[in-house]
Amino acid sequence: MSDQSTYQRLAPSRGQKFTQRTLPFIILAAILLAIPMTGPSRTFYTIAHQMGINVVFALSYNMILGKGGLLSFGHAVYFGLGGYLAVHAMGWIEDEVGIWGSIPVFFLPVVGFVGGALAGALIGWPSTRKAGTTFAMISLGVAELIFAAAFMFDSFFGGEQGISGDRMNGIELFGLSMGPIAEVYWFIAFWMFVGILGMWAFTRTPLGKLSEATRDNAQRVQFIGYNPQRVRYMVFIFAGGFAGLAGGMAAVNYEIFTPDALSLIPSGLVLIMAYVGGITYFVGPIFGAILLTYMQSMLSDFTEAWLLYLGVLFIAIVMYAPRGIAGIVFGFIDGIRGSESGIYIKHWALNLLGILLMLIGLIILVEVSVRWSNGYGDIYEPFGMHLSHTNPLTWFLFLVASVAGIALSLFVKKQKEATA
């Protein structure tokens, strides 16, 4: 018995396993169950569903980017192809083609998974033989190719119009007619949970670990008896499958798929989601997906220039925080637990203040410019201030905020260097 206890010394304890692995999922499930009890609005549901889909999509992307080291510019292809297959399946369910009549719409994400995985298996075979920039370029080429080809094969892609379906057909499962938005919630929540759990479990499998090993050092993987191309290929199929799962969720949620779903735009967005969230952490893309979806649907109501803020955020993350939001959050937690937490918090707070000041400067500049450029005579009026482009106060505020923010950041940087 002593033998066993020695090797188990390295494995996490039962308590650690519970707090690090089981507990987060229990909390997630509890949150998902609790949300409808708060009586959310239609708007809330609309955004929450989009978040659920994006969370799964972004996590699937991170299977290849963060865990596999493959930068893809065409991940939406698998989302789209999985989604298309699911929409077609929705049609087959409606028409009761073959055995489809006996399959509930609730399980369409599985069809999406199969579609995405098949597409991954087909396209991944030539493209995963290479990694790095070559892979990135192939993914771009394939994405453009399939997007362009989508307009030629109308029977599958439906041309400009896309393919529509009706989710209120087939067998009802769990008493869900899937019609009203509040019923769709359970569908999205269920599959989001399954998707997160599935992809997390994947990281714990031998293949999941080998994927990380291949990312770190493909050459060495060969000398522990594995073919890195095969590892990449298999991981790619799974990533395609989970992207397809998200596509299947989207198919049921929106009841339509158009060729644009395969284009570079969603592929770029999922890249930004994963990267901004933090690709080195499993939860990173979840943060990113939630933040981006929020920006996409809520921030876009407040400002026309939300994509500009997104671009600034993305570049700032690439330049100053390559571990993303998750890196910032976990870094902060480690920092306040660390031995010099006092200094750490001070630096952190000053930095935050600096960033906020710069952000204020940026917001003033952008919002005033947007309205000036539109020429509708609209004026930016935060907190009752009347900031037009002719008002000196506008430019004064912009200058003060920006300069103070930059100065503060530089000051903190100097201080950090001095203490280090």
């Binding site: 066993q4 020695t6 390295l10 494995a11 050092n217 050459q219 008896g225």
Partner: protein, 255 residues
């Protein structure tokens, strides 16, 4: 015909006009500890790359336990029981030490490319990982990211990954390069225990290590093996002395 653990015959490798390996013939018995020495640029690493499958020979053959392996991809050669280390640390930098070793263990434990099992629930894998870590003195460092290890420990991890798969033919490429004296002693001890009962082929510059470990030594100069013999005989070999003249005055220092 008795099968050698490793047998090279008429091996040639050229890159364009440059002939790097020139008609190398070498047979290594099972269980033998064989060292390859030679001046810088002699082609030692290229030889390793040819044996381990990273390069395909221009001509000639490489046999592992009598089976032809030239032109076979590295991972297949590894599965057939040949493992190698690298001159510069070649580890999985963003994973922990334990995960590094565990990856090395997977294939031998029949895990294949499994995606349906929890890596943590396989007892045999955990035991084996622990055993390797313990043998390489890395147990205390197990939860650290490999990139944060001190240099000597990275070298130890390099060896740990190499032997983790349980290959019976082990190629070590300068395992003690850049180590201090005490670290080197520890490494030699590690190599000795870790390769117990295995066939070992080692490239080293530290002659102390070589003469301490090796049963036989081959001397590689300009891509050719000029001598293969026991350490004693190598020490007295005129051709070897000539080749090393002005490079590293080896035998005297060692004696």
């Amino acid at each position: 015909m008795s099968t050698y653990a490793l047998s090279l015959s008429g091996l040639n490798k050229s890159f364009g006009p440059a002939q790097i390996i020139n008609d190398v013939n070498l047979d290594i018995e099972k269980g033998e500890r064989h060292a390859i020495i030679g001046p810088n640029g002699a082609g030692k690493s290229t030889l390793f790359n040819l044996i381990s499958g990273l390069y395909t020979p221009t001509s000639g053959s490489v046999k592992l336990h009598g089976e032809e392996i030239s032109g076979v991809p590295p991972h297949i050669i590894n599965q057939k029981g040949l493992s190698r280390s690298f001159q510069v640390s070649n580890i999985f930098t963003n994973m922990t030490v334990r995960e590094n070793v565990r990856c090395g263990v997977l294939n031998a434990m029949g895990q294949g490319y499994a995606w349906w099992r929890n890596i943590g629930s396989n007892k045999a894998v955990q035991e084996r990982t622990f055993e390797i870590l313990e043998r390489c003195g890395l147990v205390d460092k197990a939860p650290l990211p490999a990139s944060l290890l001190p240099y000597a420990d990275q070298r130890a991890l390099e060896i740990a990954i190499t032997i983790a798969g349980g290959a019976d033919v082990v190629l070590l490429d300068e395992p003690t390069a850049g180590m201090s004296h005490s670290e080197t002693d520890r490494a030699v001890q590690l190599i000795r225990t870790a390769t117990e009962g295995k066939t070992l082929i080692i490239v080293e510059h530290d002659m102390g290590v070589i003469f301490d470990l090796a049963d036989r030594i081959s001397v590689l100069v300009y891509g050719e093996i000029i001598a293969t013999d026991t350490p004693q005989n190598i020490r007295g070999n005129e051709k070897v002395r000539e080749a090393y003249l002005g490079d590293e005055a080896l035998p005297e220092e060692v004696v």
